[in-house]
Amino acid sequence: MTSITKLLMASVAVLIATSAQAANMPKKIGYVTNYATHEWYQNVIKGMKAHAKELGIDIEVQDANLDIAKQVSAAEDFIAKGVDVLILTPVNEEGVVPLLRRAKAAKIPVVLEGNPVKGMTTLVAICDYDTGYNAGVEAGKYAKDKLGGVAKVMNVGLPLLSATVLRSKGFMDGIHTQIASATLVHDLDGGGNPDRALEVSAAALAKNADINIIYGINDSSALGGLQAWKAAGKSQDGLLTVGTGGEGLAFINAIEKEPSYRIEAAMFPEKEGFTAIDAAVKLFNGEAVPEHIVSPTAPILGDSWKAYYDYDGTTRTIKWAAVNALKPPAKCMQTSADLKK
């Protein structure tokens, strides 16, 4: 066989494969996010758009801006337009139940992102407990190695949400696997925002500054705690700060400039968006999908963030090969149902 014939046959094979793939791709996906102004969702959308573009899918995004009525109306518009698949990040878990029924009646598959809803087909979400747990294990190892085996934790948490309670619980359970005597000195409600986290941490540190680990349920909380530590005139020697999320640029800046910020429980929002598109394609093709598709997370230690992201000083770009290589657990170690036990 001549090389020209081989080339022709290969080209035909590629064309057949491409057309077959295109035939199984949804043409249009509608995504209604709950709060597009948050860095997490901006990166989820970024991941969705990147993967949709790769697969030749047109994706339209609407923001509910934390308003369930707006979310329902945007989703109904998508159903009326006849999108092939609908992706939702529920503003309110009860509020979107009727929407799922309407979408089912219109034969439009629905992928949920973030939070589970009764009657759902599939959910793409991280395992919050596992995320905290794995970071806790790494924090324990760090404390054994660098902090004399002592772990006194200030948790800048958010008790309002089961997801963030699971992260904090996972962190302490993880740290206990390494240091059985680890103690939770302060368990705070930092409101999930940096100024509140700063304020409550300052008061807690004034009460008792005998801590050596600050854990934040998101990056803002960890940084609020750290800024309170710095504002109290304390040195970062002998301190470990652990953030969660890695949703924006804050954690990169912190790892680069704050000596104590050594661990980030990265949740890769871009990957969550990527996975949601994959789930949408599978549902469109009638494939069986698990009820919970886990999006991977990983504790990032110090400079190893560079393995997952490029950063040019203003924007970060995910390194898909590295993040796609992460293996998510098949099942979460604990979920919100375990908190009720």
């Binding site: 102004t37 860095e39 901006q42 008790p159 705070l188 409600d189 925002n193 940096p194 100024d195 700063l198 304020e199 409550v200 300052a202 008061a203 807690a204 540190l205 004034a206 009460k207 008792n208 500054a209 803002s220 940084l223 609020g224 800024q227 710095k230 504002a231 109290a232 005139g233 924006g248 640029l249 804050a250 800046n253 400039k257 000083g313």
Partner: protein, 327 residues
């Protein structure tokens, strides 16, 4: 008019008048709170905790100083929280671009006073009620900050002088506290001992009478709005310094804390009466409650509940006292 001015100027503080006033009650409440929390948790009166409380008071006190002048003039500004976040982002962006603290500070003050000016124009020129008008500005700023930046503006300049603004000390005293005291003193002197201050009381008490006597009430209100804006500019710089970033999500609910402190301090929302000493006490009471709940290890949800109850009770007792004096 003379009568109005006399009313405004008659607030000279003597021990007798203080104890018979809302401020006296507030002062006693503050002492009781401090003693009670100290008895239950001795860490409360540690040096570290006192500094933490005073630092937390500083931000609120700076903006509350301007807001007191505004409320005395019978106006209010609900955009201060949103403006606070925007100021932080703008100043950090300018600092990153120029590496100059002076330019960063000027940008923050220019932006915040510009917001104050816009509010003043909306209220005095367009005659929009300040409660509604500044809600509009608040929404503009909350949306606008996301047009400006979707992410927190990180500190790339690493200027030590900027970090000192929020986290630095002059001797044992935190720099934000020094700035707060200076601004408080300027506002207090202006309100108590200057013609503008007296006119502000007069505008709040009876704007029509003020206008009939040839004083431009709109111009006085404009001054109060711009001064409040400038105070937000200073507070925004301190907050950005403390957080080491310009955070578009910062300052949510900050306006309510500021207004709560002003009202708790005895300044009437209908204008014409109030004092900065009262505001200072209001700020201290709210922040001591906030701090005390953490020091005592109570459920943090009470940080919203308790000040709410305190404000309702304080306003109610103030109303009773006013009725009693009116008889």
């Amino acid at each position: 008019m003379t009568e109005i001015l006399r009313t405004g100027a008659s607030g000279r503080t003597s021990l007798a008048s203080l104890t018979g006033s809302g401020q006296g009650v507030l002062g006693i409440l503050l002492v009781v709170l401090c003693l009670g929390i100290s008895a239950a948790a001795p860490q409360f009166y540690s040096e570290a905790n006192i500094i933490a409380i005073l630092r937390q008071c500083a931000l609120v006190l700076i903006v509350a100083s301007g807001m007191t002048m505004l409320v005395i003039a019978a106006e209010v500004d609900l955009s201060v929280g949103a403006s606070l976040a925007f100021v932080g982002c703008i100043s950090m962006a300018v600092l990153n671009a120029t590496g100059s603290l002076t330019l960063g500070v000027l940008a923050a003050l220019a932006f915040a006073s510009g917001v104050g000016l816009v509010n003043a124009i909306v209220v005095t020129l367009f005659r929009v009620n300040s409660l509604i008008g500044t809600i509009g500005t608040m929404m503009l700023l909350q949306g606008g900050v996301y047009l400006f930046t979707r992410e927190a503006v990180q500190n790339h300049h690493q200027l030590a002088s900027f970090t000192a603004l929020g986290a630095g000390y002059a001797g044992p005293v935190p720099i934000p506290l020094i700035l707060a005291v200076a601004i408080f003193a300027v506002c207090a002197v202006t309100l108590r001992f200057t013609t503008i201050g007296r006119y502000l009381y007069a505008v709040g008490a009876n704007e029509r009478a003020v206008r009939l006597s040839g004083i431009r009430s709109a111009r006085l209100k404009l001054v109060a709005f711009v001064v409040t804006g400038l105070c937000v500019g200073v507070a925004g710089l301190i907050l950005a310094s403390l957080m080491n970033a310009g955070q578009p999500t910062a300052g949510r609910g900050f306006e309510l804390t500021v207004i709560a402190a002003v009202i708790l301090g005895g300044t009437s929302l209908s204008g014409g009466s109030g004092s900065l000493i009262g505001t200072l006490l209001g700020v201290l009471v709210l922040k001591v409650i906030d701090n005390g709940i953490i020091i005592l290890g109570w459920n943090q949800d009470l940080q919203m509940v308790v000040p709410g109850v305190v404000i309702i009770l304080a306003t109610y007792f103030d109303l009773l006292r006013s009725r009693h004096h009116a008889r």
